[in-house]
Symmetry: C2
Subunit: 382 residues, 2 copies
């Protein structure tokens, strides 16, 4: 299959590209390095420097003999996106190309507008590029479990049959996200659903939980091929950040009460899910939605797990609750369904002590690069 990965420089984009190439697919990546730019502007660079996409693609080819084609440019530019899709003729587009930081999207007007326009315009251009130049192409879009927020009912996989006053109909599951970034993904889903039902596009929307991890078979081939690993308040996901705090001897910063429950998954499982969705495409006119997570934890449970793993490594891990910079429920009902991807073939890599210990070991090798001032929240929702 010809697979075009948008946002191919990202934490997930680059490992996904290597995974598809290793599996024998014909892969191209596109990125404009927006995350790198924002990381520089906000003093939030990743723990381990990553070479450019072109350099990584060359290194990957040297090691494996597999080519990854690189497009560098802004997908909010419709001419560029249209030309790329026309030239590459993808069977699948994997769309990660969004400003992915919730705190950044809540920082002020300029950052909010940048997030809003970038994310919506890219999705809009991708839809139209497919309609105009590759109408059979399957779009695999990365959504987020954050689209649903924390409703007081069970979270189904994207859709809900509603009975009301004796009549029934099926609708998108109701959504109420906790940041502007997450809200842009709600809007993406609305927009995709309109074009799917009106023009018969094929779309899979993956509602992903926070991802952790730094190891994939291809990333482990060479230090230059690792994912960009963030531990800062802007781009760092909570598990990755806690592990860095454990190594640096900084108490794990639980936001507020710590009863916030979310669904998590290992980076290796993101790759499995995206490849399974690609290799089993949605039908024409179908918006297929999966909840992409493998287990749920409260923040307090996560902190305890990191402490336990740290203790076995001889680290003295402390946990400290700080004022929650976000506006979110700190105790709530949370019961998401996530059977669809398992039925498709996902074999979960759970968050075992060994998985956390392996990550701690890798982080220890970069301990001197940890910048403590990047860890405490620098953006508040208020």
């Amino acid at each position: 299959m010809r697979v075009l990965i948008l946002g191919g420089d990202g934490y997930l984009g680059w490992p996904t590209a290597m995974d598809f190439a290793a599996a024998g697919h014909d892969v191209a990546v596109a990125d404009n390095y927006l995350r790198r730019l924002i990381a520089e502007k906000t003093d939030s660079e990743a723990l381990i420097p990553t070479p450019t996409l072109s350099a990584r693609a060359r290194r990957f080819e040297a090691l494996t003999g597999k080519k990854i084609k690189v497009f560098i440019g802004d997908l909010a530019d419709s001419d560029l996106t249209f030309n790329m899709v026309r030239q590459f003729q993808p069977d699948t587009i994997v769309h990660y190309a969004e400003q992915p930081s919730a705190p950044y999207s809540m920082r002020g007007f300029a950052e909010a507008r940048e997030t809003f326009q970038n994310n919506l315009d890219v999705t809009f251009n991708v839809i139209w590029a497919v309609m105009e130049h590759a109408p059979e192409c399957h779009i695999v879009k990365l959504g987020t479990m954050g689209e649903y927020g924390t409703p007081d009912i069970d979270i189904e996989e994207g859709w809900l049959e509603i009975e009301h006053k004796g009549r029934k109909d099926k609708f998108l599951f109701p959504r109420a996200a906790g940041s502007l970034y997450h809200t842009t993904k709600v809007l993406d889903t609305d927009l995709l659903w309109f074009y799917v039902r009106t023009y018969g596009l094929r779309v899979t929307d993956l509602m992903q939980g926070p991802v952790y991890g730094m190891s994939t078979p291809e990333a482990d081939l060479d230090p230059a091929l690792g994912p960009n690993f963030h531990y800062d308040d802007i781009f760092g996901t909570v598990v990755n950040r806690f592990l860095v705090q454990a190594v640096a001897g900084i108490p794990l910063t639980v936001y507020g009460g710590g009863g916030q429950t979310r669904g998590y998954l290992n980076l290796r499982d993101t790759l499995q899910c995206v490849r399974l969705a690609t290799e089993h495409p949605a039908a024409k006119g179908e918006l297929r939605i999966y909840n992409q997570l493998t287990e749920t934890f409260t923040v307090n449970e996560l902190a305890e797990r990191v402490r336990r793993a740290g203790d076995t490594m001889g680290l003295k891990v402390q946990i400290k609750s700080i004022t929650n910079p976000r506006k979110e429920k700190e105790e709530h009902y949370y019961n998401p369904t996530f059977s669809g991807l398992i039925e498709l073939g996902l074999k979960p890599n759970y968050m075992t002590d060994e998985v956390l210990a392996d990550m701690i070991e890798r982080i220890i090798a970069h301990k001197n690069a940890i910048a403590a001032e990047r860890i405490m929240p620098r953006v508040s929702w208020n």
Copy 2:
């Protein structure tokens, strides 16, 4: 009250401005004449030429002694919107400033992108202008009944309590619109709801049905003060278009089966609804949603009503079904609730034979200006 009306040059915007000014409010209007420009580009000019906003404001002041302040500029430009809100310090912003044509939004990529970016960017700027420069200001946003589409359950006023697997929660009523234009309003609502619940804005979102009419107390003062009255396939709403067809001796063009049911209201009732919402504002942190319609008809029923009114005026009105250019159900369940605005004080002006006969009489005075080629659908959803 200080009332700022965005999209003040529109079919609804200008009559609303005069209505508020006549009622003693301090009124400003803003517009960039986007609709006029699109009307020119698509050969869809209104039946009766309307002077510029400045000229109409001068005429209105000469006749009534009431001032309407005019801002001309593009609200997608955040500096302009921010400066205007900072200077005028509105108590209420009435937000009509969107590209309002469903067919135009479905014409092709350029028109779709223009609609998408304009509508979303303006709403985004309005939200931020209020947050930054007038945080107590009440936003009265014009949504559309089209946001809901035609679900197989009763349509409540914006919200729905859902019971699922023995648990309950309240959500935005599910929405699935029939054009990109209508979908931009779904996205507007999602975006407003995020900022309302996160930052405590006060917002009323009015889900309005198709409006008909050309008479308001102030519009009737002088021909120069009338609303821009469209009968073309791009901007003409169905009742207005049918009446022009009746006068021109063109068979009324029913799209497909004609069983499509929608909720309608008189232009005078739009003014009542918007003023009632303004004079009874939403609370801080409240997204208040009303369904703004006064009666429901199928397209076939509308055509029959126009025929009956035309017959009493000596017109020989014919009705003809044509291929539906849209993608929509032509037979469906439709039962919207619309009690909220009536409880607030709305006194409906129903679609009587007299109301239609009065419109026919006014249209006859402009019969020679009718351009028949503007009436048949020039845009298809396929």
